[in-house]
Symmetry: C2
Subunit: 129 residues, 2 copies
């Protein structure tokens, strides 16, 4: 499982990054029911994956699915769409009432998710200290 | 500690709400270092509170503070501003590189936080299932 380092807006040394990355993964895995789907080609080679988690939503207090990561090796081939659909089907099957994800304000994926039926519910605001 | 039920967009029975509310609080408290500041009047009566948590950010991988709740009994008296300042000072003291919070897209507080120096970093998108 890889969370792209490119999202970070801070300069981090390799050691600090690895240590903090481990803490984040451990913390995310400590709550909820997790599922990973991997897309492969006919020869079993990796094409992409999605990481989805079922837990109780902090705003709506209903069982909700969160997409923690979705990555594909080759864009524009429908791999991401297939993975997203797979995550949504799993979420519905295990009782999620909605499915959520976080996307950076400038990330073009924002438009892609809107086309997939996702609407903007909340904003993450932040301030450097 | 009270998370306002008014944020929920789902109809929930009292029992389901209480059970899920407990799970959310337990889950939030299971990670990070938590601090609660309570504002009182000169007689020690409750005026408001802020709940802030220090943990590693999932996008930036640096120590970050999250405001999980901020509530005041009387708006427009500077209680919220004082609580926010208190949370920011604590966050800085314990090593947070930034401070974050989530606000619903239609919440007027979005403007209030912008005035306090917060900028919009990410969007929470969701889809009913």
């Amino acid at each position: 499982m890889k969370i792209s380092r490119s999202f970070s807006r801070f300069q981090l040394g390799d050691e600090e990054y690895e240590e903090n990355y481990g803490k984040v993964i451990k913390s995310l895995l400590s709550t909820g029911e997790h599922k990973f789907f991997v897309a492969t080609d006919p020869y079993g080679r990796y094409l992409g994956h999605v990481w989805v988690c079922l837990k109780i939503d902090t705003a709506d207090f209903v069982p909700s699915a969160y997409i923690y990561g979705i990555e594909t090796l080759f864009p524009g081939m429908g791999i991401g769409s297939a993975l997203l659909k797979k995550a949504e089907e799993w979420a519905k099957r295990v009782g999620a009432r909605k499915i959520s994800l976080r996307v950076d304000v400038n990330n073009p994926a924002r438009k892609w998710y809107a086309e997939k039926g996702y609407s903007e519910r909340a904003v993450i605001m932040e301030k450097p200290l």
